[in-house]
Symmetry: C2
Subunit: 312 residues, 2 copies
């Protein structure tokens, strides 16, 4: 049996990335109801908002779901308390040291998965006792690794060296890509961009339409001095580029970025002034679908890819 | 029948990238003798050197082989004359406009393939009348595209929009990756780094040993102001980094790079002062093999991957 299905007790080894401003209870419960694993994006939620989304999610699905927890979240202890109180069975941690919270979460019977962008951190995560790792390539949207290793090179290398189940992320938005990721060594996949552009995503409609519209080369990994982030090359990015050309300091870059840029772009739909985080696979997305339609399409493409093996 | 095998009249849809300083007649003839397609790397050869390598290659194999021709090569007319005179049946063009030379080469009955790093140029190449395209992702070694699209995202997108045969490149050094590339939409693959580290490669032994040694994260895409190039983070790269930190001008960067850095590194084996071009898949390479051993390994891995389809 597939290790990811077994680990989470789900029907399909497809996980929806817990993206800030995109992943509220509607998206998460829809993914879980369709047989995948939905993850709430707690990075953009105040503690009381997370609690509300967990409670609504529980009402909307009887299937397992989880929370994505960025370990740099300022009020992390409150988030953890909420997760424990609400008996959320699964937590995906990211952006931080897997040693810090894994044992605490596991003490409460929670399944813990850590998101990494390198073999080095995959090994550290395994050592920290996580149940699985997500290895995310350079093509992924939002926060990203410093080594810039792509999904195509990262997955086989992590697979070669770790023993725990492996989830591939970064660039995956079709069924063919799910099969390809599995052949590279993944047990399951985490998909972000494709779910950001669904009807159930909590992102602003204008952002979803932008995802469906943009083409290859329209995203870029930038802000490397702060935290490498893949975003759409919109007017806000042009401002960043101009600042770089003028030799901006790290402090001025931080000031230019300011607070709330991601919310402004993805949640409020300001396509010019906001930060629009999305992956390279947005070039393969040309419509806004429902979560059910996405699952139907992924399964159809996956099945066709498996039935029509390439000739050598 | 596989389109790439048919196009070139070869036994296996595996092409060896025509890499500067690595791809002389020994490597090329060995690849072609093992059923793949070897390509001479004419970018680092004087016209008379290319002639010599073609002639030696013809003596060493009766199978098809070709020449990689960077369209920015200063003495390109001489190279084309040599290729025509010597009746080389296949040319892979790169780094330039596919419209400029495709019809001239095809007039002489030569099969022309163009190397691209974006869908836009794949479409331009198809329009220019090439017989196939190589779509090369961000993870590839040496010269690279400005859009930074990875193999995992580039191949499905190009496949979706072009009609001519598609060869995937960038990050491929195992048999599992060949199958994954095919599932993403490729008809065949072009492999660079894995062949750079073979006994038959004309690269310096010290460079080959370095390829076998380096790990994930040890290469980087840099020199973006000149021509984006993936290379090993060696002392020469540290110099580049220091220059960037000091706000180097494009001219000073060009002066720092100077002439002959790639030769110094890859051909003369100066691992500190030379430019060491290699792809991210070097992390998956841990030994120097013969070309025959590489083919045996790739076929074994490919076969195993096909026989052991992942469980979903």
């Amino acid at each position: 049996m597939n290790k990811i299905r077994k680990l989470f007790g789900i029907k399909l080894p497809i996980i929806q990335g817990g993206m800030v401003w995109n992943s509220g209870w509607q998206l998460v419960s829809a993914v879980s109801n369709n047989g995948g694993l939905g993850l709430l994006g707690s990075g953009s939620m105040y503690p009381e908002v997370l609690k509300e989304h967990i409670q609504k999610c529980k009402k909307a699905t009887s299937m397992p779901f989880g929370v994505n927890l960025p370990l740099l979240y300022p009020d992390i202890d409150k988030h953890i308390q909420t997760i424990v109180d609400e008996k959320v069975p699964i937590v995906f941690t990211s952006a931080g040291n897997p040693k810090t919270y894994t044992s605490e979460l596991k003490k409460h019977g929670i399944i813990v998965v850590h998101v990494v962008s390198s073999l080095k951190f995959a090994l550290k995560s395994q050592e920290a006792g996580v149940d699985a790792v997500v290895a995310e390539g350079f093509e992924a949207g939002g926060h990203n690794g410093r080594e810039e290793t792509t999904t195509f090179c990262l997955i086989p290398n992590v697979k070669k060296h770790i023993k725990i189940p492996l989830i591939a992320a970064g660039g995956i938005s079709t069924g063919q890509q799910i099969l390809a990721a599995q052949i590279l060594g993944a047990d399951g996949v985490q998909i972000g961009s494709r779910f950001a552009a669904t009807a159930e995503s909590s992102a602003h409609q204008a952002f979803k339409e932008k995802i469906a519209l943009i083409q290859e080369g329209d995203t870029v990994l930038t802000l490397k001095e702060l935290a490498p982030t893949r975003l759409i090359k919109n007017p806000f990015f042009q401002e960043l580029e101009q600042a770089y050309a003028n030799g901006v300091s790290k402090e001025d870059l931080q000031n230019l970025l300011g607070k709330g840029r991601a919310k402004k772009g993805m949640f409020e739909g300001d396509l010019d002034e906001g930060e629009l985080e999305i992956g390279q696979s947005s070039a393969l997305i040309d419509s806004i679908l429902t979560v059910k339609e996405v699952f139907d399409l992924l399964l159809k493409e996956y099945k066709e890819a498996k039935e029509n093996m390439p000739v050598f």
